[in-house]
Subunit: 558 residues, 2 copies
């Protein structure tokens, strides 16, 4: 389909961003000349994206259709749903709607970037409805691993779209804010055109345990601990932090928060009333040290073994404020996100080496997922009873599994659509089709550069990382082609140079011979000269070392 072409009377839904996960970071709804954006998050680079800091959705489609974009609505305050906002706003000013905590976290993020909430932005209550052009957006309370998370019901001229956001059905939510089952089923009764639903845990049978189960376990741990407690969890899991504060109060302990992102969340959540200190439990780290060990609790980041995080540095004794003592109890209240297993394991090993006891792993009961398992997914489908079903928020295999659950719930397979980021799902009141693809994909952010690190730079970094680089420099007289200096060879990341003098000297001789031969034949095309040098050197080095460093011949005309 042509980008942005208007289809009369049709509704388009486009999952736009998410690294490996379809529609995770951003989804677009379009009706005629109006676009509504749902969420605008970031992903963390995978191991192939060398040197990249974060990954944001490709906003090309939104920028090309900037005059159509009416608003950004945000389901909840996690990084993978709000982290891309500063980058979007640099290209496109658009009002933002979200619940109070979500907006508080977005504001903090924008402040860090020296930005402000765009004009017209405001926070809304769960249950509230906002009219945005052709779309009427209703925020519906849902439970997730951050407070104030919502699903969205979006009425459009074609029909109602329900987007679950990230959710689980926590039947005993810590803050007493239940998912709005009544409203979801009412919508189902009234008729829902399409359900876009979170597929993260589509491979997991049964129900996801309540966050309160974790609280019970934390309380046991706090009650029994005879020494200091360090508890690492996701900075944004305010419910879990609240449960830790409550248990600390119950067992007469004091709590200090260590780690920048957690300090930030705690500050915002306290200010907005989503977290409360049950009685001067929170203290600074310096004050905490004045209490006996068994009264000390440190809440900290680093549950994923991130190299620069507080817990990782504590585990290797590189943290200024906290040193592990034998008798310390470390609670890892998080499961490793895929890809982080090894760094988490390394952190645990190092904590044991320093004499700490560590509570970790699925059996420990100190973590519960924020996402629905299969039985909850079926419940969602049966409450909303959509005509069409589009699984989102997951890797491809998860969408497949989710689609099977929908079929099991009676949705005909022809009414279920699976796509990728950029896929245009097109709906009328009675039909759903895949109507093409728009520009989508990942934009890599490295330092201040947004999108300038692409395939060429990554390919070079990959080669450099594997076998290093060898630079050949030679100075030639411009007119005559006589060698005035060099050839010199410098290498980095290739071999340990001190022990490879002979290899390098032979390589230099090879290069010299190639140059003299070619120049002797009257070659004046420097590109040919360079290519000869590269070929000969590359073959020679591969024979000698079985390595393929990048070879960079530089000819300097003097």
């Amino acid at each position: 389909m042509a980008r942005g072409r208007v289809r009369q009377g049709k509704l388009q839904v486009i999952p736009l961003g998410g690294l490996g996960e379809i529609g995770k970071n951003c989804t677009v709804l379009q009706y005629q000349d109006e676009i509504l954006v749902i969420d605008c998050g970031l992903s963390f680079p995978d191991e192939e994206m060398l040197g990249v800091d974060i990954v944001i959705p490709d906003f090309t489609y939104l920028v090309e259709n900037r005059q159509k974009v009416r608003a950004l609505v945000v389901t909840h305050g996690h990084e993978d749903h709000i982290g891309g906002i500063p980058y979007l706003l640099r290209q496109l000013q658009v009002p933002i709607y979200g619940t109070r905590l979500t907006m508080g976290l977005i504001e903090g993020k924008l402040q860090e970037a020296g930005m402000k909430l765009p004009q017209g932005s405001r926070w809304v209550r769960a249950g509230e409805t906002v009219k945005i052009g052709a779309f009427t957006v209703e925020f519906i309370r849902i439970t997730h691993s951050i407070p104030d998370a919502c699903a969205l019901a979006i009425r459009t001229p074609v029909g109602t779209v329900v987007h679950t956001g990230d959710y689980k059905f926590d039947q005993t939510p810590v803050d007493g804010e239940f998912a709005d089952y009544r409203r979801l089923s009412e919508l189902g009764e009234q008729g829902v055109l399409v359900l876009l639903a979170d597929s993260t845990n589509a491979e997991r049978p049964g129900y996801t345990p309540s966050e309160r189960v974790v609280g019970t376990r934390i309380d046991e741990i706090f009650r029994n601990a005879r020494g200091r407690i360090l508890m690492a969890t996701f900075a944004s899991n305010v419910h879990r932090l609240q449960q830790a504060l409550d248990s600390a109060a119950r067992w007469k302990k004091k709590v200090a928060v260590v780690g920048r992102s957690m300090e930030n969340t705690v500050e915002v959540a306290l200010k907005l009333g989503y977290l409360r200190d049950p009685g001067k439990v929170l203290v600074g780290l310096d004050e905490l040290r004045r209490y006996p060990a068994h009264q000390q609790v440190i809440l900290t980041t680093g549950s994923q073994g991130e190299p620069m995080s507080a817990l990782t540095r504590i585990s290797t004794n590189e943290h200024k404020g906290v040193e592990i003592q034998p008798g310390d109890l470390v609670v890892l209240a998080a499961n490793p996100i895929p890809g982080n297993e090894k760094s988490v394991a390394r952190t645990i090993n190092n904590l044991y080496r320093r004499g700490a006891e560590v509570v970790y792993g699925p059996e420990a009961g100190v973590h519960a997922s924020g996402h629905a398992s299969q039985e909850e997914m079926k419940l969602m489908i049966n409450l909303v009873r959509p005509k069409f079903f589009v699984p989102v928020h997951g890797e491809y295999r998860m969408l497949v599994h989710h689609s099977r659950l929908a079929q099991a719930c009676g949705i005909p397979s022809e009414n279920i659509l699976i796509g990728e980021n950029g896929t245009v799902f097109e709906f009328t009141r009675n039909s759903a089709t895949i109507a093409g693809k728009v520009t989508s994909g990942q934009v890599l952010v490295d330092g201040l550069g947004v999108g300038d690190v692409g395939n060429i730079v990554l390919r070079d970094r990959k080669q450099l990382s594997q076998d290093g680089i060898l630079i050949v420099v030679v100075a030639l007289e411009k007119e005559t082609g006589v060698i005035l200096g060099g050839p010199d060879i410098v290498s980095r990341g290739f071999v340990y140079v001190r022990e490879s003098e002979k290899l390098m000297e032979e390589a230099r001789e090879k290069v010299k011979q190639v140059l003299l031969d070619a120049l002797g034949r009257g070659t004046t095309e420097w590109a040919v000269l360079k290519s000869n040098v590269r070929d000969v050197l590359s073959k020679y080095l591969y024979d000698k070392t079985r390595r393929r460093p990048m070879i960079l011949p530089i000819i300097m005309e003097v």
Copy 2:
């Protein structure tokens, strides 16, 4: 302790190699001037070891004490127990003992390296005893995920050492070769000084399922499959391959093996009688294609999502011989090894994208670990009833958990020793102490280079991989210091050059200014000049890009 100093009448046990896992790849026993080496394997590099192919133990201690080394005894034929042998033999000729399949696999490995089994090597039967200097080594049948695996009982003048090797207690082994419980308990009766025991699954409660359970599940899958089956598993799991062949025969299917390492194992195992074709089941891939889809089975490598493996290439449609068709059933008969989760997930997603159905994950029942879980570990300890206990073959936290199991079985905590690679455990008949440390650690193999990639090369590769490199070349007149050519700037892996012309031009100007300033002041120390260039450029680029590429100034004297 001084390296190799003889301690009269004492026995030293030294776990010598294993990346992150203590004693996994190699363990050393020393009594006076005699050394026995147990296993000699390799590890696969972790993500920090950029460009490294494999990791082998540091053999310094063995090389320095070469006249003492009597033999290498090998517990089983897995890569992490035999893969280092060609590297050891290049430094040290020493006879090798192992069971028949183990020796067959070692021979194949040596042939590939253009080497032969050292003089005096021979294969032994489980139950057999070999006298090696002061050591009497008894091979004891054990069950593991490769046939012909053994534990070792080593009688020494100080007492008996039992080393479990890698093991589980499979009560229904596929080949009918039960672990030798009787002999283990007899040894326990006679008195064992120290037990060195596999800790891999020390975090797992209960029992590890039998390999036969996997066979039952495979048989169900083979019976029910209506299309072609592709089954990926570890190349060396001969029992599993046997079960697949048996099921294929039962359900009238033909089997082709795809993937070099599996083809090798199958060849050796068939030749030595550890694998048998139950009736012309095995065919070539070309022949297989002549059968209808439901009669086709492909056994293949790539269960870990390794980039160059058969299944990974099949999943991205880059394999010459096999193309996924809708209706294909892919069985991933392996769990991801820590660190491989993401690549395995990517492979599964791609297989679904191509229309295959995939059976995977712990719930699928198509994989069983080869290592003992906690109840088996306790059984081992209670059979052998050692005076001292040293957990090995595991990461540090696993050793801690294993040591707690030993305590639960009644071994006093002061009789349990935990160490690292290189730790010297020293035993008399009545005492066990940690008596120092010998040179140990990892030697990185990259191409033909063994050990030449060290911290400096890796640090450079790391920097190159993150932000690339910027090379500044300038030609100066030797005597006068006048700039004759350049400065030119070339970058790789830093920015997309076409879109950064202004940045590069400004950088060039900066460099030129620094050079002119310094040369104007009469600087003749090229090192000073280079350092000035590096400082100015590094600051400028960081301000503009927040990146820190490697900066390499090259001054060419003309």
